[in-house]
């Protein structure tokens, strides 16, 4: 993409300005360095780092991953280096780059979320916080924060009150009505919504009769879940005025377009990075080609243009 390209992929995402709508999703791109020079980070719309907690976490015992039809299950167990090592070792490598850095965060309690937000607020080189509310709430007996709208409200409020950074709330799909937690997050002052996180799933080895994951249940991601993600994004778009980041199963420019057309202002790409590390670059240039073919000049001309009449 030449800089003087007549095509504009730039989008506004609430308080954020992105040069294009294609980001990498949390947990699938490490802390940004792992893919080396295969993916020049400056080319991306944004980088969401692996979820960070106050203290380092070991994560779950292996096996932590299993391939399924069109997808994969993971139960990493939120292994991460912890706040301090992130700020001292990982952030300095990202800071000099011309790419928005979004820090994904999670806690065991509402207070953890607030403390994390406060601690990250002061650091240069962070462009937004993304709250992961899919993780189990230790005080509520392990039920995910994200499945209870009251908890969603509390967690988002705790983060909101501790940071001036743009706040993204990442919704879990494991709910009856996705617009309910979306509304709760909106009421608590989130700037942006992102969805979906993984769908709870399971697999068994028929030979040994053991679960494929040591943790028994894991999160399903990848192309298999795309129809679910797209449906939920569309539901949230209709119910909320907030800008939405769509993700779940995106692996081609057509997939990304589907999310933009239903109204997402940006997308994240997760599992597909494993399949094709350069998939984000291909999607970005694919978006330009699409606009050219459609005789358009600006990606905003297609966002939210789903045609419902026949």
């Amino acid at each position: 993409m030449a800089n003087d390209s007549p095509i504009s992929l730039a989008v506004e995402l609430g308080p954020l300005r992105l040069k294009n709508p294609v980001m990498v999703a949390s947990g699938t791109f490490g802390y940004g360095q792992e893919y080396g020079d295969l993916v020049p980070l400056e080319r991306l719309g944004g980088v969401v780092v692996k979820g960070i907690s106050l203290e380092p976490r070991s994560g779950n015992p292996p096996p932590r991953i299993w391939e399924t039809c069109g997808g994969m299950l993971n139960s990493i167990g939120l292994q991460n280096v912890g706040l301090r090592a992130f700020v001292e070792e990982k952030l300095p490598l990202l800071r000099p780059l011309q790419v928005p850095v979004i820090v994904n965060l999670f806690g065991n309690t509402v207070e953890d979320y607030g403390k994390l937000a406060a601690a990250l607020d002061g650091h240069e080189g962070i462009d937004a916080l993304e709250i992961n509310i899919s993780c189990p709430n230790v005080k509520a007996g392990g039920m995910a924060f994200g499945s209870d709208p009251k908890m969603v409200f509390q967690v988002v409020s705790a983060v909101r009150s501790e940071t001036k950074l743009p706040v993204i709330t990442k919704l879990t799909p494991n709910v009856t009505d996705i617009t309910v937690p979306a509304k709760a997050a909106e009421d608590a002052g989130t700037d942006i919504l992102s969805l979906i996180n993984t769908v709870a799933g399971m697999a068994v080895d028929a030979k040994t009769r053991r679960p494929r994951l040591a943790n028994v249940v894991g999160g399903l991601s990848g192309p298999a879940i795309k129809p679910i993600a797209l449906r939920m994004v569309w539901q949230v778009i209709q119910a909320s005025n907030l800008p939405v980041i769509g993700l779940g199963g995106i692996i081609s420019v057509e997939d990304a377009l589907e999310f933009l057309i239903v109204g997402a202002r940006a997308v994240q790409v997760g599992t597909a990075n494993f399949v094709n590390p350069q998939v984000t670059l291909e999607i970005i240039s694919g978006l330009e080609d699409y606009l050219l073919r459609q005789g358009l000049k600006d990606i905003n001309e297609i966002i939210g243009t789903l045609e419902l009449t026949r």
Binding site: E34, R64, M72
Partner: protein, 270 residues
């Protein structure tokens, strides 16, 4: 780390389950070290979805230049698809990945231990070793379920290795498990190896590491894990290790990045 399409130059069975595949990919051939691996995308479609990890079995600097060979065992969907591929087809490779074998600092006696398809990364290591000016002695202990598992023995002989074969069914070499016979044999040697390299099933690796520890020999073990990314981005490929100072316990290393080759004493065997 490179992302390249490699052309298949041959793909032929060596037994009912084992195949040799020759790949032409000069960029990767120029960089890859013994024990490092590649994440292979077996085809364009989304079933199977994830890449599969494979070692480089042999490097062919000249035949044609920039080519190398994989040895793979058909165990599931991905490897079955590999077996169906044809000369002239392309595979998409990500690599070289991970931390490979390190050559011993002192020249002299080197021992390798392989179990089954664990033989895969060792010929390239042996070639590198032989080319390093080390004069040996070199010994390979190679165990399998049955005689057809014991492939490429001649190549090791050609490189100056003494090869000891063991099969569980006794169809070739000694009968039993490789680690049992090895331990007995080691205690009868005048000299101990400078290093033990090993690749094979978890329990074999564990025996080798414990044997090496008992004898005070450094061991380097190429380990396996289910992998998502192969580059350290997803934290799927955990192997429990002893935590370095100041790191929480349990400590999980990434096989793809911290390994696949680990020192025996790093690993927490459970």
């Amino acid at each position: 780390m490179l992302l390249r399409n490699a052309k298949i130059i041959f793909n032929k069975p060596v037994s009912a389950e084992l195949y040799h595949m020759g790949l032409l990919c000069p960029d990767i051939a120029a960089k890859i070290q013994p024990g490092q691996f590649l994440m292979v995308r077996i085809q364009d479609r989304l079933d199977p979805l994830l890449r599969r990890p494979f070692a480089v079995h042999r490097l062919y600097p000249n035949d044609p230049p920039g080519s190398f060979e994989m040895l793979y065992k058909v165990v599931g969907r991905g490897t079955q698809l590999l077996a169906n591929m044809q000369r002239g087809d392309f595979l998409n490779l990500l690599g070289p990945l991970g931390r490979g074998f390190r050559l011993p600092q002192d020249k002299g006696f080197v021992l390798m231990v392989a179990g089954g398809i664990g033989i895969a990364p060792l010929p390239y290591l042996a070639e590198t070793l032989a080319a390093s000016g080390n004069k040996g002695p070199f010994v390979l202990w190679f165990g399998g379920k049955t005689s057809t598992d014991l492939v490429c023995v001649q190549h090791f002989n050609d490189l100056g290795f003494a090869v000891q074969l063991v099969t569980e069914d006794g169809s070739e070499g000694k009968k039993g498990l490789v680690t049992g016979h090895l331990e007995q044999w080691l205690t009868q040697q005048d000299e101990l190896p400078k290093v033990m390299y090993s690749c094979g099933p978890y329990l074999m690796q564990r025996s080798v590491a414990e044997m090496a520890a008992r004898l005070g020999i450094p061991s380097q073990l190429s380990m396996e894990a289910l992998m998502g990314c192969g580059v350290g981005a997803c934290l799927s490929c955990s192997l429990r290790c002893h935590p370095p100072k100041g790191v929480q316990d349990p400590h999980y290393a990434n096989v793809c990045q911290d390994g696949p080759v680990f020192d025996g004493e790093e690993i927490f065997w459970d």
